[in-house]
Assembly symmetry: D2
Homo-oligomer: 342 residues x 4
């Protein structure tokens, strides 16, 4: 008899609905109940999908004894409260980063303390770790196929600018976007980032200066184990979502190019190219989103390690904060790599 995770889902906005569809394809997950403050607007759509147990109040869901695990897809400003409540209700938790709106990490550490006290599992949504391409690199690095890692190289470019008000809500380029690259860099190298230098500017949208943000970044990383890293970012790559990772080591190199929408080649006199990088994160990381959920289910049912833990989000945030300071001061910045909840 198959073991199951009995799940509640909190937050069914656009992201939540994407995750819901992915969760429904995993046989080990029973979706017991869903909660959203605006549940009425999407009730019909949910019924069509067979998800009929709906509520506006996430507390109702947390008090449901049939539910052992909750997936939190609400907006960032609610994470701190909901994750703490879920931990205190004894549920395992999946939550997108970050855990708190506050750049000061104490608020996030408090959330992690609640998780620890209640002895529940918390997985952070660093989905790129489970992207099949990057995961293949990760595994081959761990198997020693390239010897000792010496350099990680990440190119990460978004297809287009975000609205200024959204940036002000979710954080600037370093704290919303590059943060994923900092996590990827740590993950690949198996070592913490101990120093960061960031240089950037507004080459695309000069008005970003008004909200203290940039659209173009070049960074150098120093890892605790002696290795190095380079990252380059842009807010707007006209050709799509550009996501590439390379790890170089003493015995070789592993690299993942962009995933294209097609393998078909057209040769005509114009030599038009049909292959294009996938345009949006939803498509590019579709498998990653499902794989991170499968890994979380596996961790719950079989006690395998979590893909990304609470400490990972703290560490990535510290680097983002240090990089922001580097950008502001023009000087490289040290990063604290010690982590403790005590």
């Amino acid at each position: 008899m198959m073991k199951h995770v009995n799940a509640g889902i909190i937050g069914l906005g656009r992201a939540g609905q994407m995750h819901l569809r992915n969760l429904m394809t995993i046989p080990e997950i029973n979706i017991i109940q869903v909660a959203d403050v605006f549940i009425d607007k999407i009730s019909g759509k949910l019924n069509d999908l067979g998800v009929t147990n709906q509520t506006t109040d996430y507390h109702e869901l947390l008090s449901n004894p049939d539910i052992d695990t909750v997936f939190v897809f609400t907006s960032t400003d609610t994470h701190e409260q909901i994750v703490t409540d879920a931990a205190n209700a004894g549920k395992n938790i999946f939550c997108e980063k970050p855990l708190s709106m506050s750049h000061d990490e104490e608020a996030s550490l408090d959330v992690l303390r609640a998780v620890k006290k209640n002895n529940v599992k918390l997985q952070i949504g660093f989905n790129r770790r489970m992207d099949p391409q990057f995961r293949t690199i990760f595994e081959n690095v761990r198997e020693g196929k390239i010897g000792t890692p010496q350099m990680v190289k990440i190119t990460s470019r978004d297809p287009d600018l975000l609205p200024h008000d959204l940036i002000q809500r979710i954080g600037g380029l370093l704290q919303d976007f590059t943060m994923h690259d900092f996590d990827m860099a740590r993950y690949m190298m198996g070592s913490d980032i101990s120093e960061v230098y960031a240089k950037g500017g507004t080459l695309i949208d000069p008005t970003l200066k008004d909200i203290d943000d940039v659209d173009t970044l070049a960074l150098v990383l120093q890892f605790e184990n002696g290795a190095f890293g380079v990252i380059d970012n842009s807010r707007r790559a006209v050709y799509g979502y550009d996501q590439r990772v390379e790890v170089f080591g003493s015995e070789g190199m592993l690299k993942a190019e962009n995933v294209n929408n097609s393998t078909v080649e057209l040769y005509n006199d114009k030599r038009e190219e049909l292959k294009k990088p996938l345009p949006m994160f939803q498509k590019r990381y579709k498998e990653a989103y499902t794989e991170e959920m499968k890994a979380f289910v596996d961790s719950i049912l079989n006690d395998t390690p979590l893909v990304a833990q609470g400490s990972d989000v703290i560490m990535a945030q510290r680097v983002a904060n240090a990089a922001k300071k580097s950008l502001d001061t023009g000087l490289p910045q040290k990063v604290n790599t010690k982590f403790s909840l005590d």
Copy 2:
């Protein structure tokens, strides 16, 4: 409100279960009931998936007025009877090729007459037509990107030999395997095959001669519109499932290479290659299996054209029969391209 197809599924062996999981990911499909003569063996697994309305008797399913569409995944020898019964019960039908065990096409034509008389839709499982790569070629050919098609080139190699008794049940290389290539060739060129020459032998398993089969084939096709084709087949490609299509025309060329399991490149002193062609048809054509079902649903709900019709299976079978005769006689063979149910 979303329109739905209310489906019954007949046949839940290995193939049927794969299709069932795919069908469950399509929101427009409600699975009302499933039937299999050995339903007891898989009842628990089906319950786990939430498919609880089960029967051993497909007649019960066909008489269920809530069902408008049936998916037939039973063994080939039952197709003739079940598709005829389903047509007479007024259900739309999806069925894998062929429609009959008989190489004489009269039995298949009788099935198609029942479909026509009852005015139901019948889609044949030529799934490769909906493979995203091949579909991209098809669409670009239709859009005139390579001008007038002059040559189609298909390489199709299976990963390994089949057991002799299975071959005897489902047909030899030409009639089970190459038949898909004949259909692909017709589909790409938009023209019927009017002549075929086949040359082959037993380079892998000489005992295949005992059951009148070959493991290696080289073919030349002549199309009614004047174009040409070449096909090469093998029963055993040690590197995986090799499925490539190329169309050449007056203004250019389109080609689809194999789909690999990874885009990651490993450079070390051994220069080991991580990219491998997908090993099995289930994985290689996973998207194609889902896409053909989506297209069928779309045809039912919105009356769009079927991906592959009854006449398509008759045509592919005629070429397979002619190719077998060519192999036996050493001479090219004409193929009848006239089709009528009268």
Copy 3:
């Protein structure tokens, strides 16, 4: 002290001049004298290159005792006479195929008998054998990397139509163009072609029928060792010179795609493609032309095997003749694989 080949060059038309420049880059070759009936027209150009010993009369060159090796780049209709004369003068000979204008092979065999009698080396200009890509396939096949070869697949398409009068002088598609593919097929498989089936037509230029030629061909080959082959040809690929070879065997597959003019990728919103197959045989086979000469020099100086011998041109011609008969009769044709000069 470096050993040298002391060379005379006969024929300095466009092809001859291309070869001359290649020969000048090989340090082991001293160019002693050149001959061309129209030497006056190009005398200045030759002087600029430092090639000052010029004559209109190739007999003068053949009687020059300082010359041990001649390179024959004259038009096909002169090969029979000049190669025979050169053999009788005791010179080693490099000559483009074919050895005679006559489709009847007796004339060519007479040339080979002269070569044998005088015990000189004769290398035939099957330059593609020394193309670095195809040579890599050849060597890996010989090293057993793909086990026993079972299928060779050749796509060979020219960039554009030839003038009708040129075709009438040098032979039709099968005898001028496909002949190179027949030689490549034999070379790769290490076995003679024992049967051929050719199907073709005039899809590009219907007036080719007037001179008994075709512009599009699809062929099946049977090899003496049991293996098979497929070839497809076209007179006009709008995207350039299309030259691809693939060998499939019991333990794997080797394939060479086209050589592009660039590795640079351009990603913009039009996704324009910069990589294009090399457009002309002179550029595509530039290295092959030099490598075949180096191999010939090596064979002369160190008695290594010739890249392509007289018997190779006879064999390729036999297949071309049989293929022409197949095209005319619509039936496969056997090919005589016995070779003897007695």
Copy 4:
């Protein structure tokens, strides 16, 4: 009548001999005389190549009135003297970088003043600018295919460590190796580097610290026009010579991957990879070495612009010096971009 460059070559060590062979393939170059202090050791080899006018004294060559252009391939410590003498003798000059051993640029500026005063042409051997791949990027950037350049990304890794004494003679990683990348970055972006940050260490050979060098580098560049750059370097890539360039801009991206030794793909059960990056600079930049010479010839004969001028070597050196200071201090460093010989 073809116009010619009448050339003298000074320095025929390993590099000089490679260049000599390249120069001999360019018809517009007449090699009048060669000079090397150890000419006796290679005299036989030169005679074999037909280069018989040899001397040990480069002054003799400079006073030869038949020579209009000299190619300087001697060791770096002689550049300052020889280039100055050649300029004062009124010869056009090709010379490898740098112009002087001194890190202080005054010595180099004195050389350039002699060149200017005598009104001769001086081309610097920044051969990579004429690599066909990088040149294709350059030209497409100039044609506006990617809009305004915003980021340049260079990966440059050598196949293996150099001996410590050689490093001490030619300079450390930044000043010998990365200097080429600084020049490439300037060339691609069409703007000077105004600030540099360098981070590095000894991950391969810790004893490099003894000679004040590193083996691994990560750098961030700021350009005068506002754009950015990232560079990563390693002394030892076990898989060969890794040379990649990418330019990203407002309307797209151009990138050049490594050039492989083959396009052949081998698919067997081990999935062994035959394609390897070219292993050595001599092979990787073979075409670049010839193309830079052709461009120099073209500049002399037709007064087209030089590929790389004296000011280019000064600018690259300044960035290298600033990067070294950044490495030593841990702080980013400004670079002076003003250039004047007055």
